[in-house]
Structures are given as structure tokens and as C-alpha cells.
Subunit: 336 residues, 2 copies
């Protein structure tokens, strides 16, 4: 099945390719009758513009790369729908590459995307510094980068989208305190993730303020999977430290922890309340439903897409950092 080109139309209608082209791109220098004839023939023969030719012509690939740390939770998929909301109507392809929370894979993905000639890359890091050199290289070579959610530790001249982790974590801890909790444990994310440190800082700030901070209450998790959450909960219980609630770095960790507690026949929230940070459906599909900081994920994706478009359309555009608001949603896991 040979594809129909402008040349085919040209032969078919006995018109030059220039005229055909003009009809197709809505050029004003063309007779309405001719234009109609061309459009009809294009429809009839099933003409489809060849994107490869256009890409070559304009030096753009009309595709955007997205790097996410994982795709097994709805987190990334919500961000993606935001990104696609903006980019698909503009004719961009979106190419997604999961890094599996592994910096070396992230690195490979980035270079791979560059190889694909993407016009820009939107990325949610898995390590705050490991690939700093690559980010800079890629940008130096002319491909704009936009960071979202997990941004680099070191300041890099690129647009960024995120929420205020520190403040929102603090507010969530305040909520736990307001429900009478005093021994609030924290399952902290890997310290190679900037947000983990920010949220931990917000947590500590409030406990300090109330004079109830205890370093033993903080468990540093080495990863972000459900299993890591389980392990953290197990550690907390094994440590024989008293605690009446948990604030976890993410939904995933919180749910893993919750499962372990439930298996140990601990009642949530009666004995231990659980709160976390995210913005996905995950919080509502467990029992009891999880109190969490709901990030506006779809909106974050949309903003990230707009920021990358700005950079693509004007490579000298100033970098912007957009901080979105997140809402605290109180559910059964912290309320009797």
C-alpha cells in the first residue's frame, strides 16, 4: 500500500506540486476552484502529509520526551494526561520512558530521547544530582528541559514545576497534631530525592516547634515501593519505639506501611493514624482511605507542557519556576 504524496496529486490533477501544496496549506494565492479540486482529490485519494518530510523541512521532530521514575502508580499517568492535554492538540507526539528509579537508566533514557531528536524533554528525576552533567549537556546541545515534581538539587537554569513540599508536609503534620497525635513517625524517602528532604524538613520543623521531635521516629527508606513501605513499618515496630501515627513521604510508602500494620492486627486510625503525600486514586482504593496531600497532578503536567513549549518556540525565553498549590484531604486513615 503505497502512500499518496503531493506528487501523486500533481499528476492526477495535472497541476504543479507548488499549487497542490498551496491548496493544502491554505495559502491565499490560489484560486478557490483549484483549491476545492485539490482538496477533493486529496480526500478521494486519501492523501496524508508525510510527517518525516515536514520534520526534515522544519528541523523539528514534533515530539516531546518524558522521563518518569515509575509507571506502576497512577502518579505518572495523571501527569501524562496533563502533558498530553496540551501537546496532542498541537500535533506533538509524546514519548514516555520510565527510569525505574534508577539513575543510570534515566541517563540512558535521556540520551536515547536526544538521539530521537525530541524537541524537548520533560523530566521527573529519580536522583537529585547523579545526572546533572547530562541535563546540562542536553540543554547546551539545544534541547530544552523542564523539570517537574522532583527537581534537581543544584540550581540549573531550566523551567520547573512543583508544589511546596516543605510547607505542605508541615501542614499535614499540624493536622496530625490537631487530631491529638504526639508521637508522629516519619517514613522518609531516599535522601537522593530533593522532595524527600524537603518534606522531612517540614515535618521536623513542626515537631520542633511543638517540642516533640524525636530522631528515633524517623525511618529513612531506601526506596519508594510498597515493599519499602512495609519494611519501614516493620522497622518502626521492631524498634519498640512508641508512635501513634505515621507521616510517609508518598502514598506508596504509606500504603505499604499500612498493609504491614493491618497484618499485625493494628487498627488504623485507632491505634496508628497514617497520612501521606501524593494526589492519586491510590489513596482512596485502600481501606481505610488515606489522608494525603493532593497534588494537582494533571495541572502540573499541563504547566510542564506549556513551559516546554515556551522554550521550544523561543530558545531565549527565561526559565520559570511554577509552584502549584496542593490540597490537604482528610480521610479515614487519620480520623475516627
Amino acid at each position: 500500500m503505497k502512500r499518496v504524496t503531493i506528487k501523486d496529486l500533481s499528476k492526477y490533477l495535472l497541476l504543479s506540486t507548488s499549487t497542490i501544496s498551496r491548496a493544502l496549506v491554505n495559502d491565499k494565492n490560489i484560486h478557490p476552484d483549484t483549491k476545492k479540486k485539490v482538496l477533493d482529490a486529496a480526500e478521494k485519494l486519501g492523501y496524508k502529509p508525510n510527517t518525516a518530510a515536514l520534520n526534515l523541512k522544519y528541523g523539528q521532530s514534533k515530539s516531546i520526551g518524558v522521563v518518569v521514575p515509575e509507571m506502576t502508580t497512577p502518579f505518572s499517568s495523571m501527569l501524562l494526561s496533563g502533558i498530553q492535554n496540551i501537546l496532542y492538540p498541537l500535533g506533538y507526539r509524546v514519548i514516555i520512558t520510565p527510569s525505574d528509579e534508577t539513575p543510570s537508566i534515566e541517563r540512558k533514557n535521556l540520551l536515547h530521547l536526544e538521539e530521537f531528536n525530541v524537541d524537548g524533554i520533560i523530566i521527573n528525576l529519580c536522583h537529585e544530582s547523579y545526572n546533572d552533567d547530562v541535563y546540562q549537556q542536553i540543554m547546551d546541545r539545544g534541547t530544552p528541559l523542564v523539570f517537574f515534581d522532583r527537581i534537581p538539587g543544584k540550581s540549573i537554569d531550566a523551567s520547573k514545576v512543583m508544589v511546596n513540599d516543605n510547607i505542605k508536609a508541615a501542614l499535614m503534620v499540624e493536622h496530625l497534631i490537631s487530631t491529638g497525635r504526639k508521637r508522629i513517625a516519619h517514613i522518609m524517602g531516599p535522601s537522593t530525592i530533593r522532595n524527600a528532604n524537603e518534606r522531612a524538613a517540614g515535618y521536623q520543623r513542626i515537631l520542633d516547634k511543638h517540642g516533640i521531635f524525636d530522631p528515633d521516629l524517623v525511618i529513612k527508606s531506601e526506596g519508594t515501593t510498597f515493599e519499602h513501605g512495609r519494611i519501614a513499618a516493620q522497622q518502626l515496630l521492631n524498634n519498640k519505639i512508641k508512635f501513634d501515627s505515621i507521616f510517609a513521604f508518598t502514598d506508596t510508602l504509606a500504603i505499604g506501611a499500612m498493609n504491614y500494620l493491618l497484618e499485625q492486627r493494628i487498627k488504623i486510625p485507632e491505634q496508628i493514624a497514617v497520612a501521606s503525600f501524593s494526589g492519586t486514586e491510590l489513596a482512596t482504593i485502600v481501606h481505610p482511605k488515606l489522608t494525603s496531600v493532593e497534588q494537582p497532578l494533571v495541572q502540573m503536567g499541563e504547566v510542564a507542557a506549556r513551559l516546554i513549549l515556551e522554550k521550544i518556540n523561543d530558545s531565549t525565553a527565561a526559565s520559570k519556576t511554577v509552584i502549584l498549590d496542593a490540597e490537604l484531604v482528610y480521610r479515614a486513615s487519620t480520623q475516627l
Copy 2:
């Protein structure tokens, strides 16, 4: 930042573009010294082949479209990693478009992907027949299609990958019976999905065989979300029908149902056992963990990718239907 082309190398080394090209593609008709010089210069100047030019040259876009009904569960992401395992090493881009379980969006996505000139499309349907005409059109126009998981109802000449829904559903129901359950309810998926009918048929076949089938035990769900599962469970309880277990069309429905039961303080599995069908992590992150038919999702993705490659590389290749095995995993939701 202008990109480096073969012409730049040509000027830089005072060699023709032909020679540069030969060096780059490992042609044998080139002096080793020249080749080394070119390769070094390419490295030094940061030459990257222009994919758009290659795509134009070879008439392929080196990209594959994937249409999935949803992306909020790990289901699609596991399939995607399978697909990407195969396609990325071969230099293919993968473009993902979620249809949101809406046939009209699926239709739009398919046409959109065709517009993008993808070399092939891998699709998991959201309706067994609504878009039949488009599938056929797209294939007629020369873009191969591969169906996986949810395949079309009507027979279409295209490769397909799936598991044997009927048999596996039957085995799962046998398991419930073997644990002493006699009143097994079924939350059936929308009958516009072939698999829903197949699994329901497997369910009924076994209940009939044991003479314990009761049509009142079957709830037809209108959708596949967690919420639909909740509603189904609610209906079951409201109907005042006695039942001691549930076999659900998918994990998602099962978990939604489980949540409702737990909220009603019903004990799982003591009072009601729950089993389902899927193959994702979801089954293990709820409490109690969910017994389910584990489909080899990553493998399914890999097979789908290989099948589409076959069709791309030889448009006359015969269509294949691959049926993969699925494993029953028994967890806490059905065992005391």
C-alpha cells in the same frame, strides 16, 4: 545551537558527503584511516544522525503507536514495559494514547496515530466492535495492527495476544468451590468487552457443572473503575441475596468491591472471599491481599511487539494468535 550534519563533517574534513556517510554506516569501501578520521571528527563535533532525514529516506517513522483503555492501574504500564523492552533496542519510539475506556476517544487516537505515520499500532480495545470499521480501514491503508488482551469480537485478520479467559476464570471459580464456597457471586465487566463475556462464561460453566448457578448472583457492571466495583458490591448486599464469595472481572472491580465490604465491616475472607483476574501489583497492595489470575503482562507486551515487527518487516506475513498461560495465585482474600 545548530546541529551537526554530514555536510559539516564534509567541509571540516574536506571529504565528500558520500565518504562521510560510508564511514558512518560501516561501508566496506572505505579506507580504514579515513574511517577513523571521520569517526573521530564526528565524535568531536558531536554529530548525531538526523532521524527525520532517515525516516524520509526509508519511508518509515520508526515509531509504534499504542492504544490502551486506561493508564491509572499498573496493568497498562506493565504491558508497556514489555513493548518497550523489545522496541527501544531497535530504535523505535513508542507513542502511548489512553482511550479512557471511551470508544470515540479510541477512534480519535487511532486516527491521530495514523496521522503521525506510525509504522504499526498495538491496541487493547475498550469496546469489542464500535471501531471495527476503523481497524479495517487503517489496516487497508497499510498500517499493521496487533490486538492484545481485549481483542475484537468479530474476527479480523490481524495478530492477537491474549490469555484464555474462559478457562482461567473457570479454574479460579473451581478454586473458590474447593475452599468450600457455594454461593459465588460474579461482578461481570461490561458486555461490550469480549473478555468480560468469556470470563463470565467460564464462571457459569463451572457453577452449572456443580449445579449451583444462580443468575441473581451475577451483577453486570457498567464500567471497570474502583467505583464501579464499589457499586456492584453495594448492589449485591442490597439485593439481600446470600453469597459467600465474589469473583470479579478485574482487580480494579474486586478492590472497589472489597473496600465497600470492609466499610460494611464484613470480614474478608471469613464472611466473603474475593478473587479476580489481572496480574498487577494492585492485588498485593490491598489488605487482605487479593487472590487472582496473574496474566504474564510484560510477556504479553513483548509478544505484541514482536508480532507487530513481523508485520512491519513483511506486510504479507500471516497473522498469528498467541495465547499465553496465566497463573492462579492464591492469597489471603480467599484463604483463612
